[in-house]
Structure formats: structure tokens, C-alpha cells
Amino acid sequence: MLKVGIVGCGKVADEHASQIQRIKGCEIVGVCDREPLMARQLYERFAVKRYFSDLMEFLGQAKPDVVHITTPPQSHFDIAKRCLELGCHVYVEKPFTLYGEEAERLIALANERRLKITAGHDDQFRPAARRMRALVESGFLGTGPVHMDSYYCYELGQSDYAGALLGDKGHWVHRLPGKLLQNIISHGIARIAEFLVTDSPHIIADGFTSPRLRDMGETEIIDELRVIISEEERTTAYFTFSTQMRPSLHEFRIYGAKNGLILDQDQETLIKLRGDRFKSYVEKFLPPAILAAQYLGNLKTNMRNFIRSDFHMKAGMKYLVESFYRSIVENTSLPIPYREILLTARIMDAIFGQLDAQRLARRPILRVGRAANPVEATSVASRFRASASRSRAL
């Protein structure tokens, strides 16, 4: 029986506890939160064995094999480091760490201690996303990806989280280097990182505060972001984060030399795009019929999964957690390769570095110049990391 613990007993911890309790062969031996009342409420509702308000006491007495870290991101690195040092495998909610450098250090520590660590990129393990991965691996695209398009949007107007965030300048999201973006975009970036080959793609980022937020008096939070990612004149990707565009997409498009795929996370559909064209008017009639048939197929799959009770909103999390536990117990490969976690962190570093430089410059963005000079992006990111490290040291 795998002994599991949760550190951080807020909203996300509920999702973790629910999914862990659906997995056979494990039990939650303890939960921990600096605020004892929060730890107690999770303990009561999920019939957990014990609750703690001190991390070291929790690790020493509950002795978990695996710890899920669901605290605000500022504390991910320190808590994960402690857990690894005391011999626990670690599942860290997204964003994995604040900086790429911290991600590198955690992964190095895990390797050194022969422990495993993973990031909470659970959207990549939802049913349609798994079908997409299987198709890509089977060579459906023809070659490696030529281009990708990742949308990860967020409706600020309809969430309690947004209300709390915008209403409270002391909210922990305001203290993240990338603020709102850092807490949300890693899912969409990780989708791209999964299919990149090199470790240092060129990044060009542009972001701004939407008119709607500006009207509400918000100037610090960037809620519109566009990113171009390219590697060695081979694969390119666009990333879009928006709070304004409708529909508020969570979509991923990937195109190879032969075919393409469209993954819609909200509708849980996967659509195959044929590379070949039909002749003449057939192209006008047959592809729509093929697409309609594919949507019907997706509907059938979704309904079947729902009837089988395998279509939970957090199905991706259950799959990821289960795969992570299996990799620990059977000592097999991890569901998310370390390279992908690191690359996601590096891309995010570069994005926030560029946005920070834009903010500091307090002048209109030199879009053409920046686009033409990826080296500048790298150097800005390095400067940003260096200044961030200095701030932390202080």
C-alpha cells in the first residue's frame, strides 16, 4: 500500500484527495497545512488518517511514500526539496517551480536520491489528449510536428478565483514573477514542450493588460499573451492566452507534413485533419461529412466513457497520478519526462523575462526588432533570472 500525503489543503487539494481515493493500492496517511483549521477540514471530509500543521512533523510521523504539493507556487521549491531530502517521491502541482533553475535543482536532487518527481500537467492526460498522443506516436502526422498552435484561455469574469485575485492586491498570485500567467499557462506551454526536440527554442513573447482589466484599475496583471516558439528552423508553435476572446479556448492543434490533429479540451474531442485533398467538388462535400462523422465518433466515445463512469472532470489528474504511482511501484518510466518539465519551465522563464523587460522599459514594444533577435530574448531572460535570484537571496 502506497502511503500518500498532501501538503496544502486549499481548493486544489480537494481535487487531489478525490482522485487519490479513486486509485487502488494507496491511502492518504496525512494532510498538512500551515493553517491547522484548513488541514482539519480536509481531514474530516476525506476521512484521512491524520492532519498536521507542521511539515517536518507531518513527514516524520505520517511517513508518506509520496507527497502531493498543492500549496501556492512560491513554496513549491522549498517543500519539494524537504520532501526529497527525507526520502519521499513528489508530485508538484503546476506551476512546477517559480524559475527553471529551481526545477533543475529539484530534478537533480530527485535523481541523486533515486526518487521520482512529477509536475501537475494533468490536462495532458485527459482522454482525448491521450488519444492524440497515441496517434502522434503511431506516425499519423507523417513526420515530426511542423507547427503547433496552443490556446489556453481563461474567463476572468466567471470565477471566484478572479474575484479574489483582482480584489486583493496581497493575493499570492500578485507575488508570482509571472503573476496570473504563471499560475495558468503551464498547461498550454507543456503541450508544446512535449513535442519540441531541442532544449533551447527561440521565444518571442508579447503581452499586455486587457482594456477590461485596465478599466477596472488593474495595471500589473498581464492577461493577454501571444508567444512564438521556434526551434532550429524546424518546428514552430504559437501560444495564445487570452481572457477576452470568445470562445475561451483550451485547444491544441498540431500539424505534420502529412496530416494534422485538433484537440479540444473543453469538448473533449479529437479531430483528424487529412493532408490529402479530394479532387474538384468532392473536396467541398466529402470532408465536411468526414468531419461530421468524426464528431459523432467523439460524442459516442464521450458518452461511453460517461456511462462507464470514466469521464470525470479531473480524469486527467487521476490518470497522471496513477501513472506516477505505477512508475514508483514498478520502477518504470515517468508519465512526464524530466526534459519536458524543464523545457516548460525554461519557456516560461523566457516569456516572463521578456514581459518584465517590456514593463521595465515602459515604452511601446519594439515588435519587429525583438522578433528579429532571439538572442536578445535569451539575454533578457538570463538577466531576469539573475535579478530574480538576487531578489530571493536578499
Binding site: 480584489g167 486583493d168 492586491k169
Partner: protein
């Protein structure tokens, strides 16, 4: 109001949390009108202050209304806000939260912070905890039985599938727990559905529009309404009257309309829309099936509709304000008909959603 009957004098400091809200602003208005001259209104940094500012502009000569901007999750803010305070009306709550931890954090942890801060100062004479009818279980009662202050509250409130009910039940618990441990005098006030201009939605006790069409579920049940001015006065009296420590007061008005009457009046005076009546046995059966499916599927559908919920919201129940009348001398100043008229008028102006 007679000051001799009260636990504090007109110049003692009163703290009101949630003072900018729907009920809180009416409470501030009522206290000022009753002659209390030293009020501190706790408001979140994001709260809109129009209501309080309007009251400040119209405050009687000599009255002092301080707006304290802060976060109840901050112990420092709570400590500063409770300094020299003789009476706390705690109305702030995590309303509208769908997540259990968020609702808990914004109701229970905040309440604990206030209680602890008050203890540090040692000058508090009463803590008025504003709770809700939502905490009552109403499960082991016969049809038409009375729901009053003696009724049991939910033992395992999370099983209701309603984060607000859970947080409020836990908030009540922590107040009682602190009082037992530290001797803080308290009163708990549990209003029914508070209505009036400023609120436009129809209470879930009448029906729900979750599935695209308005499902009328209340039928001939009385709806436990209380008009906002009447409710604010009941809360004020619960905080001020002598010899009511550790008591609980339910707040409902007189002449409660049935769900069917309320819906009919709403359609007549505000907006016409289609609704489908579900008899009680049908809504009960659907709640039962939903609950079973939720269990069987390990939460594929969250257990938001279940038998506990049905008993609390849609079971035929009578309500009483007897204790309010006898112990506090309260009676609703705004009659139900007048309250409904004002409410419908405001709804019409606000383009409500039914």
C-alpha cells in the same frame, strides 16, 4: 429602542464585518438611527463603499463611522479592527463560493481570527455570529413540522454537497467552541432567505434554473423569507439585548407566501418566463437518483442534489419567529406585502434573471 435594555452604551465601539453588503449596510443604517455613535465598518479592499459612504453622508450629528479596509484572513488586520470594540456583528462570509476549502477559509478561518483578536483585547461584550437557515438538517422531521431554534443542525454538513452550508455550520461550531473554551459571549442569528432591493435572484427554495428551464420545486411550501430591513433589526437586537447570551435566533417574517404564490407574483410583477412544476415526490426521487449515481460513479457528477439537500430546501416545513418576538421584542416593521412590492419593483428595474 431603550438603551437600558442593552449591553452597551451609545458611545461604545461596534464593529460590523460585511458592512458594505446587502444586510450589513442596513444594519449600519439601523444602528445609526437607533442612536449608536461609534461604528467601525470592516470592508475588504475590493468592496464598493457607495452604500456606506451614503450612510456616512446622512449620519446624525456626533456619530462617527470609520471604514476599516482590511482582510479578515490577516490576523494583524483583525487585531487592529477589534481594538476597543465592545460588540461585533460578524456578517462577512464566503458567499457564492463553490469550493469547500474556499468557503471554509472565508467563513471559518476569518471567524477564528476575529475571535482570537477579540480575546487579545479583552473588551468584547458580545460576538454576534450571523449564520443561516442552511445549517439545519430538517431530515428527521415529519411534513409540516415546525423548524425552530431547537432543530438539529447538520452533523456532517459536507454531505449536503453545498459549500455554503458546510462553511456556515463549521462557523457556528467554532464560535460555540471558542465560547466554551474562553468564555466569549456570543449570539447566533440564523436568517431565512433575506430579500429586498439589491437582490434579484429567486431563492433555490422556490426552484432552480440549472437545467435551462426554471424547475419549480417548492410547490405549496412556505418560503422562509425575511425582508432585509426586518432582518437587520433582528440582528441588531440580538447583539444589543441583555440576557440572551449563547442563544440562537431564527429570523423569518410573518405572512410567508408559499413557493407557488411567490413565483406567481414574481412572474406577474417582474418578468414572465416558463417554469415546470415538479411535484415533491418527483424532486425527491430525482435527488435520490442523483445522489446514488454520484456515489456509484465516485463523483463523476458532484453530489449537489441529494436527499439532505431536498429535506433542507424542498420539504414542507413551517417556520417560527416566536423566540425573536418573545426574547428580543422584535416584530417585522415592513409587512410582507410591502416588502415584496419593493423587491419586485427593484427586480424589474435591475433586469433580473429568473
Amino acid at each position: 429602542m431603550e438603551f437600558d435594555d442593552f449591553i452597551i452604551g451609545r458611545d461604545d465601539l461596534i464593529l460590523i464585518t460585511g458592512a458594505t453588503g446587502f444586510i450589513g449596510s442596513k444594519l449600519v443604517q439601523g444602528l445609526l438611527k437607533s442612536g449608536f455613535r461609534n461604528l467601525r465598518c470592516f470592508a475588504r479592499p475590493s468592496s464598493k463603499l457607495e452604500r456606506i459612504e451614503a450612510l456616512c453622508d446622512r449620519r446624525p450629528a456626533g456619530a462617527h463611522v470609520e471604514v476599516f479596509r482590511g482582510n479578515l484572513l490577516s490576523r494583524e488586520d483583525c487585531l487592529a479592527a477589534t481594538k476597543h470594540v465592545a460588540l461585533i456583528f460578524h456578517l462577512a462570509a464566503g458567499r457564492g463560493e463553490k469550493s469547500f476549502p474556499d468557503a471554509f477559509l472565508n467563513s471559518v478561518v476569518t471567524t477564528r481570527n476575529l475571535l482570537e483578536a477579540s480575546l487579545r483585547h479583552g473588551c468584547l461584550r458580545r460576538f454576534v455570529n450571523v449564520s443561516s437557515f442552511a445549517v439545519y438538517t430538517n431530515r428527521k422531521k415529519l411534513r409540516w413540522r415546525l423548524l425552530d431554534e431547537s432543530c438539529p443542525v447538520e452533523n456532517d454538513p459536507w454531505l449536503r454537497g453545498d459549500a455554503y452550508c458546510y462553511a456556515k455550520a463549521k462557523q457556528d461550531e467554532i464560535v460555540v467552541e471558542y465560547s466554551k473554551r474562553t468564555g466569549i459571549p456570543y449570539v447566533i442569528v440564523r436568517p431565512g432567505y433575506v430579500f429586498g432591493p439589491g437582490k434579484t435572484n429567486i431563492t433555490g427554495r422556490v426552484g432552480i434554473s440549472t437545467f435551462g428551464i426554471f424547475l419549480h420545486l417548492g410547490g405549496s411550501n412556505p418560503v422562509p423569507l425575511t425582508y432585509v430591513d426586518n432582518c437587520a433589526e433582528a440582528i441588531a437586537l440580538a447583539g444589543l439585548k441583555k440576557n440572551v447570551d449563547s442563544e440562537v435566533f431564527n429570523v423569518v417574517d410573518d405572512a410567508l407566501p408559499t413557493s407557488r404564490q411567490f413565483l406567481g407574483l414574481y412572474k406577474q410583477h417582474v418578468k414572465r418566463f416558463k417554469s415546470l412544476y415538479l411535484p415533491h415526490f418527483v424532486s425527491y426521487a430525482l435527488c435520490y437518483l442523483w445522489e446514488r449515481y454520484s456515489d456509484w460513479s465516485a463523483g463523476q457528477l458532484p453530489p449537489v442534489f441529494n436527499r439532505n439537500h431536498w429535506h433542507a430546501y424542498w420539504k414542507k416545513t413551517r417556520y417560527s419567529n416566536e423566540r425573536l418576538r418573545t426574547r428580543l421584542g422584535w416584530k417585522p416593521k415592513v409587512p410582507m406585502a410591502e416588502g415584496l412590492r419593493r423587491y419586485f419593483e427593484a427586480c424589474r428595474d435591475a433586469q433580473p434573471y429568473a
